[in-house]
Structure formats: structure tokens, C-alpha cells
Amino acid sequence: MQGTMVTIPKDISRPIGGDVTPIANAYFETTFNFVTAGGVLSDEELGQAALDSGTFDFWKSPGEDVYSLEDGEPV
């Protein structure tokens, strides 16, 4: 079983977080966010990260080249 991730520039990671806080009897939760406010990816960076991650590599498949200009008229 595997998760998924995207690649990012190395220098935007900084851990911030707080103490573990009980929200009910015997249940504790906390969140640690490694992305600083200034480190939020722009749309351009996010798009580049998605491209680099291989998310859209399926477009390179020969099976995606089934259409050509001869298949229809431009709208």
C-alpha cells in the first residue's frame, strides 16, 4: 500500500505545531504543519510540482494520441 506525494523545493519546509491537546476523554489530537505561511505554493509552483510528480505522465502515452487535426474542425 502506498501514499502519493508531490515534489517541492527543499527550502520551504519548517515545522510549526503545538502541544497534544485532549479534545475528549482519552482522545488526543494535534497537527504539525511543515509549510510556513510564506511557503505556500503559488498556482504556478503547484502546477510545476504536479508535472514533476508524474501525475500527468499518462498524457505521454501513445494511446492519448488518437486524435489529430484531421479528426475535426477547430471550434
Binding site: 506525494m5 497534544v20 482519552a26 489530537e29 504539525f32
Partner: protein, 134 residues
Amino acid sequence: MSSGTNTATKPTALAMVICEMVLRDESTHNVSLIGLFDAITAARLPARHDRMHVFVSLTGIHGKHGCILQCKAPDERVVFEAKGEVNVQDPLAVADLNIQLRGIVFEVAGNYVFEFYCDGGLLTMRRFSVVVGE
């Protein structure tokens, strides 16, 4: 870090799970763990993982106990550390700890490990790997 209020029981780890999502029902308080995994694939490194949860279930907790969660890289370097205090009065109760990590960065591939310490002693651990590939 124990309060010393109990010597008959000692903290015991029932489970330690790495997953993508933890859902807690508001009415029943039942917890659902979604998307359990033990490996992460990245196209290249360093790589950021958007969201992961480390879920730890403990029992035998009586009073205050100091807990530490560490994530260690393949070279034993500590990538991440979280410290907190768990305070449960019923040693028979199960204490669930849901630790969410947003945007954690992995710089190298290999076998990582989450280690959970209670009162300075290693209670349980869970390995996972970071793999470079398509």
C-alpha cells in the same frame, strides 16, 4: 515524567498505524482510519507528503505521562519530533493519539521509522519506506 500515582500498571501500546486520514464520528466518537500505508512513492527527492496521520492507541495510563513521537531517517537522523503529555485517570481506558503531519518533507529514500516513547522508554515503533519511482 510519570506523576507517580500508579505503579501497578505501565503504559502499553495497543497499536500504531500510519494512514492518510482519521475520521471521528461526532455522535458515537468512533474512529475510522482511512488509507493505511507503509510506503510512499515520489518521482524525485526531496519530496513533500501532503498529509499523513500517525495513530497510537495506549492503555495502562494512570495519571500524567510524557510522550514523544519521533520520525527517524534511514541514517537515524531525527526528521520530526512531537512532545506532549497524556493524562488519563483510568488505567483500563484506551487513550487514542491522533497526530497529523501536514507537508512533511523527506529528503532521501529508504526505510524510515516512527518511534513512540513514553516516560523516556521506547513503547512501540512503526517502519515505513520512501521509494523513488513512477
